[in-house]
């Protein structure tokens, strides 16, 4: 069997096997889930190693007819962009399982259900990025809502049900708009080249301007809700605030990337003309998101919603990079997706440990943790530095690529977006000061520092953050050809330097 399918199927089979284990043996269930996810991660790394960096187009392609009468096939394949996101997904799952060893307890459903849901979700995540059939993509896109919904609503805290419902309704609304567009492009394909959902074939369609604009909007709104872009973001803080840290990591780190991934793969590549038409609007929204998310993050009192709002700011950068349509900005945006995934993971997991130790997620309830729990505090601090894109850490490379790439085409937007880096310093350092510095708040004197398991979970993340900051080349080598293809498909070429460029 092909590697992609095996990789996607493995967590599902794992979930099935775990479902057979006795409910009472929580430890065995956790170990089983961890084992499965580690195996999947190993497959993911194998796949990355085997990926041919030099060539463009999809690799590991496989195709089976699924519903022939509707032109639907089970069709998978990855290019650099999907590879990097799949890799992110499969790396984060074991880390999340390891880091949130106990967060499955005390939920509405059993520990077993939690891990079954996580593994099912992993299958969906792999599928959604690997699908090269639009219908298949949509199936994964919608189906992954179900496990996430149960993960938020079943294991979170606070108003978790309301948050889960809000998340689901927002997503469904977007998804259904996208469905209308999918139907539209499907019918057009039927008229022009015979019914198909193959995205490579679909990108060759000639669609008239008005139709293209509407179809584009259907996709874009769905992805802008997912990503999320201002002003469609209000589900995210609620969801992130209520979900367990592990779920939040997967939610912000991977699921939301489906939105930005979709913008590249579907909005831009299927509707280049409409993309160009809407670029000014989208760039404006992206810039607003950057600043708005940052300001809102500064104003948060709850550590989880703070992180959620920082993500809104970061998604603004990613969207900006995608629609600035230069090689740098586009590669930067894709790399940003990966980096945001790992740095948000680090931030959320460490915040989660702080919260579970203190029993509160209000920033003001912490204080002086650097002296009580130095390792935890340092982990949080480094994660925060990564979030504010400190040079030398991975996010800097991607953020700067986005900005420098955007500047060559939209200098004003780039300069305004750069204000985000000042605000970023505030939204990270304020919680750092309140939570880690200052005198130790009463009641926090005896909080335990990270244990070995937790260190084992966070260490690889931090190592990756630092390593990719100094040596992003392996990732960029994977991404660059794909980004180049996207730019070309969208009908753009990089602006030449004003001095000494080939005019």
């Amino acid at each position: 069997m092909n590697l992609l399918t095996s990789m996607g199927l493995l967590p599902l089979i794992g979930a099935g096997l775990i479902a057979l284990l006795p409910v009472s043996n929580a430890k065995l269930i956790k170990q089983g889930a961890l084992l499965v996810s580690v195996l999947v991660a190993a497959l993911g790394i194998t796949m990355t190693i085997g990926f041919d960096r030099g060539v463009t187009g999809f690799q590991y392609v496989e195709r089976y007819s699924w519903i022939p009468s509707l032109g639907i096939s089970y069709q998978l394949g990855i290019d650099g962009i999907s590879l990097i996101l799949i890799l992110l997904s499969v790396l984060l799952v074991p880390i999340v399982i390891l880091a949130g060893w106990n967060e499955s307890e005390g939920g509405r459903f059993s520990v077993k259900t939690f891990y079954v849901l996580i593994l099912v979700l992993e299958t969906m995540m792999i599928g959604v990025f690997a699908a090269t059939d639009l219908f298949l993509f949509y199936v994964f896109f919608e189906a992954m809502l179900v496990p996430v919904y149960f993960l938020i609503g079943g294991y979170g805290s606070g108003a978790r049900q309301a948050a889960a419902v809000k998340f689901l309704l927002y997503s469904l609304f977007g998804g259904l708009l996208m469905l209308a567009s999918i139907i539209g492009i499907f019918v057009i394909s039927g008229n022009q080249i015979g019914r198909t959902f193959d995205i490579t074939a679909l990108s060759t369609l000639e669609i008239d301007t008005t139709t293209q604009n509407f179809l584009f909007l259907g996709f874009f709104i769905a992805f802008a809700i997912k990503a999320p872009l201002w002003p469609l973001h209000t589900w995210l803080p609620d969801a992130a605030k209520s979900a367990t840290p592990g779920t939040s990591v997967l939610l912000l780190g991977v699921l939301d990337k489906v939105g930005t991934f979709g913008m590249i793969r579907y909005c831009v590549e299927l509707f280049p003309e409409a993309s160009r038409t809407f670029t000014p609007l989208i760039i404006t929204l992206a810039v607003i998101s950057i600043l708005y998310g940052a300001f809102l993050a500064i104003g948060q009192k709850d550590i989880k919603s703070l992180i959620a709002f920082t993500s809104i700011s970061h998604f603004g950068f990613i969207t900006l990079g995608i629609f600035a349509m230069t090689t740098q900005s586009n590669s930067g945006a894709t790399l940003y997706m990966f980096n945001h995934g790992i740095s948000t993971a680090a931030l959320f997991l460490t915040a989660g440990w702080m919260i579970s130790r203190r029993g509160s997620s209000t920033i003001a309830d912490f204080g002086g943790l650097q002296r009580v729990t130095p390792i935890l505090a340092w982990s949080f601090f480094i994660a925060g530095l990564s979030s504010l894109a400190l040079p030398g850490l991975s996010s800097f490379v991607s953020e700067f690529l986005v900005l420098v790439g955007t500047y060559t085409r939209y200098p004003v937007a780039a300069v305004i977006a750069t204000f985000g880096i000042i605000l970023a310093a505030l939204y990270i350092l304020i919680p750092v000061q309140k939570a880690l510095h200052g005198p130790t708040t009463a009641g926090n004197e005896n909080l335990p520092d990270l244990n070995k398991r937790e260190i084992a979970a966070i260490a690889p993340v931090i190592a990756l953050i630092i390593a990719l900051g100094f040596y992003p080349k392996p990732a960029l080598e994977i991404i660059n050809p794909a980004a180049q293809v996207t730019i070309t498909k969208a009908g753009y070429s990089d602006p030449q330097p004003l001095v000494g460029g080939d005019k």
Binding site: V139, G153, V165, L168, L169, F173
Partner: protein, 505 residues
């Protein structure tokens, strides 16, 4: 003028004849069999008839299109498919009917009277519901097969009249049940009158009661257009009433709520198939040529129906009423298939009807299980925390709701996708957009129910999920498996439908 006795093609009519025959036998059994034995005998007859009839449908599936009974009935692909669907749905309906004590021991007895109590105590339970159901099934099978206005009207009444009675047969909450029957009857008769009046004007327009005759008149005959319009609109009112389209939908929630749940399931699933079958035939075969007259109206009705069904459902507190509004919304979605007026629309409608029908039966089957000491519990507030009591049933019910909501990997999604595709192909994009938007609204209340089932803790413990009997269990599981299977691997079924989806004109 000599009188020729009409030639009846028994082979082609066999599926219907078997059902009608069994119904008559049922009546006789009701009259003569011992009280104790009635129920099993009736059930055996009903199930036997349905299975036999189904086998006849299966036998006929490949044969060429025929007309029967002097051109008054046509047996073509869509008809056979719909008859098959109706039979399968009614098989499950019989399972539900057989399973439980939902029906009044003696429907004629005054609620709360000594008579009633005595009948209950003695166990002399009347089983008229079986032959009534069989008659209704027969009418339903005839409805889409009718090839002229006379047969159409007769079929409509044959399927309706038993249903009016069946709606009033509930053992518990009898006043509500009787009220449902009364409402259903009065409004049904009222809409039948419209139907008939429309039929008269169509006849006046075409000078012919056969659908073929009307078609040739519509496409370029000399007829009076005003007659055509009056006829078409009035006839449509009758049909739209049956499928529960707005603004002719008002009976649906009241009747669905008041009727015994197995009957509600049967009505919701099978009636829809029959009524849409007839509607599809009439509009595809006869009135296709006048599409410009009715398409705008039907588009408006479809959109109104989706919106009304989806939006009002949000505010419902009773599971059966909610499902009723959901069925209204689905009628709206199905109407897009009628409007599409193309091959794809027909195929999609057939798929939609089958998948919707099976999920509906399954959903109502689960509704029958949720009870307290006084019978079924419809109040949604008392459904909270159901997942704790019966996770499997909660999951399956959610599956049905997700299918109704059109979430991928369920049959409902494929149905919605294909039917909207057909509508989009016909250029009716407005209805597609309205469709997806009201789907979003609809998703809200489906999800609300799922939230209640899974995420809310029960306040009291009087509500139980009874252990389903073999029949109900079969119904639920088969419906669930079908819903999933048709969602994940719809290809064989879609291909199967494609072999049926041509109307004989």
């Amino acid at each position: 003028m000599g009188f020729q006795s009409p030639a009846l093609e028994y082979g082609a009519l066999a599926p219907m004849l078997i059902i009608f025959g069994a119904a008559i036998i049922g009546v006789i059994v009701e009259a003569f069999a011992a009280a104790r034995l009635r129920a099993p005998i009736q059930l055996a007859i009903s199930l036997g008839a349905v299975v036999l009839s189904l086998s006849q449908v299966w036998r006929l599936r490949g044969s060429a299109t025929t007309t029967a009974a002097v051109n008054s009935v046509v047996i073509d692909g869509p008809v056979l498919f719909m008859q098959g669907t109706i039979l399968i749905l009614s098989l499950f309906a019989f399972f539900l009917i057989a399973d439980i004590d939902a029906f009044a021991a003696q429907a004629s007895a005054v609620p709360g009277s000594n008579e009633e109590a005595k009948a209950l105590q003695s166990g002399k339970i009347q089983t008229e519901v079986y032959p009534l159901t069989l008659f209704a099934v027969g009418g339903m099978m005839l409805f889409p097969a009718a090839n002229d206005l006379i047969t159409l009207f007769v079929a409509l009444e044959v399927l309706s009249l038993p249903l009016y009675l069946m709606a009033g047969l509930s053992r518990r909450r009898r006043l509500l049940s009787q009220e449902a029957a009364l409402k259903y009857f009065l409004l049904g008769a009222y809409s039948s009158a419209f139907f008939l009046f429309g039929a008269a004007f169509l006849y006046g327009f075409a000078g012919d009661v056969s659908l073929a005759g009307i078609r040739s008149a519509v496409s370029g005959g000399p007829g009076n257009d005003v007659f055509l319009i009056i006829g078409m609109v009035s006839l449509s009112v009758g049909l739209l009433f049956k499928v529960g389209a707005a603004p002719f939908h008002a009976w649906t929630p009241d009747v669905y709520q008041g009727a015994p749940t197995p009957i509600t399931a049967f009505m919701a699933a099978a009636t829809k198939v029959a009524a849409f079958g007839a509607m599809l035939r009439i509009f595809y075969v006869s009135l296709g040529g006048a599409v410009y007259s009715w398409k705008p109206i039907f588009t408006a009705v479809a959109i109104l129906t989706m919106v009304v069904g989806s939006v009002i459902a949000i505010a419902q507190r009773d599971i059966k009423r909610m499902l009723a509004y959901s069925s209204i919304a689905h009628a709206g979605f199905l109407l897009t298939g009628v409007i599409a007026l193309n091959q794809e629309g027909l195929k999609a409608s057939l798929f939609y009807l089958a998948s919707y029908g099976i999920a509906t039966i399954g959903a109502f089957a689960i509704v029958t299980l949720v009870r307290d000491s006084s019978g079924e519990v419809g109040d949604l507030n008392r459904w909270v925390g159901l997942a704790k009591r019966s996770p499997a049933m909660a999951l399956i019910f959610s599956l049905f709701l997700l299918s109704f909501a059109g979430i991928p990997l369920t049959a409902g999604f494929i149905g919605k996708f294909t039917i909207f595709t057909a509508a989009y192909e016909s250029g009716n994009i407005a209805v597609v957009v309205a469709g997806v938007l009201s789907s979003a609204v609809a998703a809200f209340f489906y999800i609300r129910v799922i939230v209640m089932i899974f995420f809310t803790d029960p306040e009291e413990d009087t509500v139980t999920v009874t252990i389903p009997s073999l029949y109900t269990n079969l119904t639920i599981w088969i419906a669930a498996i079908a819903t999933l299977a048709l969602g994940i691997f719809p290809a064989p079924f879609l291909d199967f439908i494609a072999t049926f989806a041509t109307f004989t004109r």
